[in-house]
């Protein structure tokens, strides 16, 4: 099975569901409101995403797990940082944002510079 990627907060939400499943979606809304201060629509959106990723299932408002927690975490190899931020910018502005990624050599050179620096 292909690796499923979860963001940190998504993971916390998923943990919450695994802990309480089976649970109604309205219960989840209440819980996320307390835990994360999320609106109802946000809770539903993230739940939808988790369901689409194949982790959970919603039958008539009752949410149950498709994969168990242990099984899921055994498959994770790395943390996933979603840089969807740049997707919110108009394309022509995004074009201006190049040039800030540095190569490994440059990074190494700068790291050395930091290490060697003295007051």
């Amino acid at each position: 099975m292909a690796e499923i990627q979860l963001g940190v907060i998504e993971a916390r939400y998923a943990d919450m569901i695994w802990e309480h499943e089976p649970v109604t979606s309205s219960e989840l809304v209440k819980m996320t409101a307390v835990e994360f201060n999320w609106k109802r629509t946000t809770a539903h959106n993230v739940l939808r995403r988790l369901i689409d990723k194949g982790l959970f299932r919603n039958d008539n408002g009752v949410v149950t797990a498709v994969i168990s927690r242990e099984e899921f975490y055994s498959r994770q190899s790395r943390q996933y940082v979603d840089d969807t931020f740049s997707g919110s910018l108009p394309a022509f502005i995004a074009a201006f944002m190049q040039g800030s990624r540095i190569t490994a050599e440059e990074a190494e050179a700068i790291r050395r510079m930091i290490d060697r620096a003295e007051e």
Binding site: G7, K39, N45, S88, P90, F96, S100
Partner: protein, 725 residues
């Protein structure tokens, strides 16, 4: 819209100078703490936003109105060419000629091109600004949607899965959004940076900066300024965040910066991600950061103050008022075309280019007290002279200079603290000409005005003068007392050039019956410019001041009536001023007074009952079907018991094509007046046309529309036949 944009454009160009200066300072003074740089950008922002300013002599700005809005003139024919008021000679020599070619206009009826261009530009600007604002709003909405899934860590700090590079969102209650994947250590340092942003209120300054950019989006310097500003903000933030840290902490901070390389720190209110600062630069800035010495701080403060004074203040606007002394001028004073209005109660004049020691004078054009400016005031190069003036009144500047050479001469008077305009367009027929002398000039026609003595001064008031004569064409008006009938009389023709002095005609007679030997002189600004003599009685006519040869300068069109008893002939003269002298443009004359008109021929046409009218000098041909006309005449004659045989004969035909058809009625031109044809000023010579039936067979009128070409020759525009009387 166009005016707003023009003012904005001026503001933008002015601010551009400041931006360049700030960029230079940034390059030269790298050691200054970056927050000083941000202050400099603050000064730029003030210049971009504030339309008002104080005038000071320290201002380095070339001008605050690089493009004069007063060049946009309404409607009237004006020879004024928009100029750039700039002390940079380069600007004068390149942009002014460009403006001249593009925008100088001479068509009387076309809208000022500069006006339509600025209007269009204003619309484009508005659209651009709205677009940028919409962009920003759209981005903000998107971001808000994105961070709905953020989770509060504490206070205003949130983490979110979808966030890569940390940013600040919101202006009133800003929130810091961090990536949820950061480690504790990373989060601490990044927060140090972001809270530094908040403490410096960067979220406000960047928003303001973007807003200014929306307004000044057309100025590339503004984009550069914004980019550098964003950079400086980031570096200043690094400075502030690292200030409280021990050195090893600074190294850690740098390491965090490095590991987040490619993840930009953005203060997000707008979508612009300008301000890319390389990691290397930021790391160096953090590691090298030392508290600046007192000397550096003082220098920095001095730089900011100097820049503010030099660029936030406007230059005291000084104008070079040009006075043209025409060739051969012997007038005591020559006056400027432009008029000044003092903003204060005194005006200071400096001798400008071409001016030596001379007497200077103000001529009130619109002023409350007109007689307060008669004292002599002398000006010398290097020594300015101050005059008490009426604030808000309008004056022309005059200098006491004569010009014996054959070329006209320009001198300049420099004056500040005034408003300047070209001679008011409100007065009719005003071309804003300088008062110039007008020595005699020969005409070259059969009825030449006599060349007389030149340099004659204005005439003394003549005896029996009857004040301003009406413009009526009726001859022999009973204004003149019988005993004084032959004495010279002056008739005012109106103030043609609007300089406050009447133009007039003086008519005199040499003898009594049977020959009148009339003598007519036309005076323009006190100078005799045209003379006419004839054995007939003269009646003054009217004078108009219109541009008849399309060169932008107005000519004098003068008609008058030489006549015997009550039967007038019409005579006309068109006088053109070149330099200081007047010449008579071509007039169409037949061999004698009675034939005074264009060579019009009327012939029988090819078709039955048609008449063809032609005129020498034009290819135009008018073909007129006269059947109905003569049928009417026949009926009229029969009804009134007259003899209709001659008209019937005409209709019966028997004439060949090309036979002469009647002719021009007696006395040649019946009337000459001014008019327009296709938007051009022209003259219209109206002739009576007779049919073959003799002088009672008045067929109608032939109008010849004509104006003048550049050489002063008659140029026929149109030929028209009107049947009615």
């Amino acid at each position: 819209m166009g005016n707003i944009f023009l003012k904005l454009l001026n503001m933008s160009i002015t601010a551009g100078w400041l931006i360049l200066a700030v960029m230079c300072v940034r390059l030269l003074f790298r050691k200054i703490p970056k927050w000083v740089n941000c202050l400099l950008w603050g000064v730029v922002a003030v210049r971009l936003v504030c339309p008002f300013s104080v005038e000071s002599p320290f201002s380095i700005l070339p001008s605050t109105e690089p493009i004069k809005s007063s060049t946009v003139v309404e409607g009237e024919v004006q020879n004024y060419i928009p100029s750039i008021d700039s002390r940079l000679a380069i600007v004068e020599n390149t942009i002014t000629p460009m403006l001249t070619e593009t925008f100088a206009y001479e068509e009387p009826d076309s809208a000022a091109p500069l006006q339509t261009v600025t209007c269009a530009a204003g619309l484009v600007w508005c659209c651009g600004m709205i677009l940028l604002i919409i962009c920003a709003m759209g981005s903000a909405v998107k971001l808000h949607r994105l961070v709905r899934e953020g989770v509060c860590v504490r206070d205003h700090i949130y983490i979110c899965d979808a966030v890569g590079s940390p940013f600040i969102l919101g202006i009133v209650r800003p929130r810091i959004y961090l990536s949820s994947a950061l480690s504790e250590r990373e989060m601490d340092y990044i927060l140090a940076h972001e809270t530094a942003h908040l403490k410096r209120k960067d979220h406000w300054w960047k928003a303001l900066g973007y807003f200014l950019l929306c307004i000044h989006w057309f100025n590339p310097l503004c984009w550069m300024a914004y980019s550098l500003f964003c950079k400086d903000i980031e570096l200043a933030c690094d400075e502030k965040a690292a200030r409280g840290m021990a050195f090893h902490e600074k190294k850690e901070y740098s390491r965090v910066l490095l590991s987040c390389a490619g993840q930009r720190s953005l203060v997000m209110v707008c979508p612009l991600a300008f301000g890319e600062v390389g990691v290397r630069e930021r790391v160096k800035s953090v590691l090298d950061d030392k508290k600046p010495t007192l000397w550096v701080m003082m220098a920095a403060a001095a730089v900011v103050v100097i820049l503010a004074v030099c660029f936030l203040t406007n230059p005291t606007r000084e104008y070079q008022i040009r006075i043209t002394i025409p060739a051969g001028s012997t007038e005591p004073f020559c006056y400027s075309d432009e008029e000044i209005s003092p903003k204060g109660s005194t005006v200071t004049f400096y001798a400008g280019q071409g001016l030596g020691d001379t007497e200077i004078r103000l001529l009130p054009v619109e002023a409350g007290e007109e007689n307060a400016y008669d004292q002599a005031v002398y000006i010398t190069p290097g020594m300015p002279v101050e005059m008490d003036v009426e604030r808000g009144a309008w004056f022309k500047i005059g200098v006491n200079i004569q010009n014996p050479t054959e070329e006209s001469m320009d001198v300049y008077v420099s004056v500040g603290n005034v408003e300047v305009r070209v001679a008011s367009a409100k007065e009719a027929d005003n071309g804003g000409l300088s008062m110039e002398s007008a020595p005699e000039e020969d005409g070259s026609q059969s009825m030449e005005p006599l060349s007389g003595e030149d340099g004659s001064q204005s005439m003394e008031p003549v005896p029996g003068e009857d004040g301003s004569q009406s413009m009526e064409p009726l001859p022999g008006e009973g204004d003149v007392p019988q005993e004084d009938m032959y004495a010279p009389h002056r008739y005012d023709m109106g103030d043609l050039d609007g300089n406050g002095e009447q133009e007039y005609v003086v008519i005199s007679f040499q003898e009594e019956d049977p020959d009148y030997d009339g003598h007519l002189e036309f005076y323009f600004n006190g100078k005799r410019i045209y003379e006419y003599e004839d054995l007939l009685w003269m009646s003054p006519g009217k004078a108009e001041y219109i541009d008849l040869d399309g060169d932008g300068k107005k000519e004098i069109f003068f008609t008058f009536w030489p006549h015997v008893n009550s039967m007038p002939l019409v005579e006309y003269a068109v006088l053109k001023q070149t330099g200081g002298s007047w010449e008579l443009l071509e007039m169409i004359h037949g061999e004698d007074m009675l034939d005074n008109g264009f060579p019009i021929a009327s012939r029988y046409g090819k078709e039955e009952n048609t008449l063809v009218i032609t005129c020498e000098g034009t290819d135009q041909e008018i073909v007129y079907d006269f059947k109905e006309y003569y049928e009417n005449r026949i009926r009229e004659e029969q009804e009134s018991g007259g003899d209709s045989r001659q008209y019937a004969e005409i209709l019966e035909g028997g004439y060949r094509e090309g036979d002469e058809f009647g002719g021009i009625a007696a006395w040649g031109v019946w009337e000459i007046g001014s008019g327009t044809y296709n938007g051009r000023n022209c003259l219209i010579a109206t002739h009576g046309l007779e049919g073959p039936g003799g002088k009672f067979d008045h067929m109608g009128l032939v109008d010849v529309y004509f104006d003048y070409d550049a050489r002063g020759k008659v140029h026929i525009l149109n030929l028209e036949f009107r049947e009615e009387l």
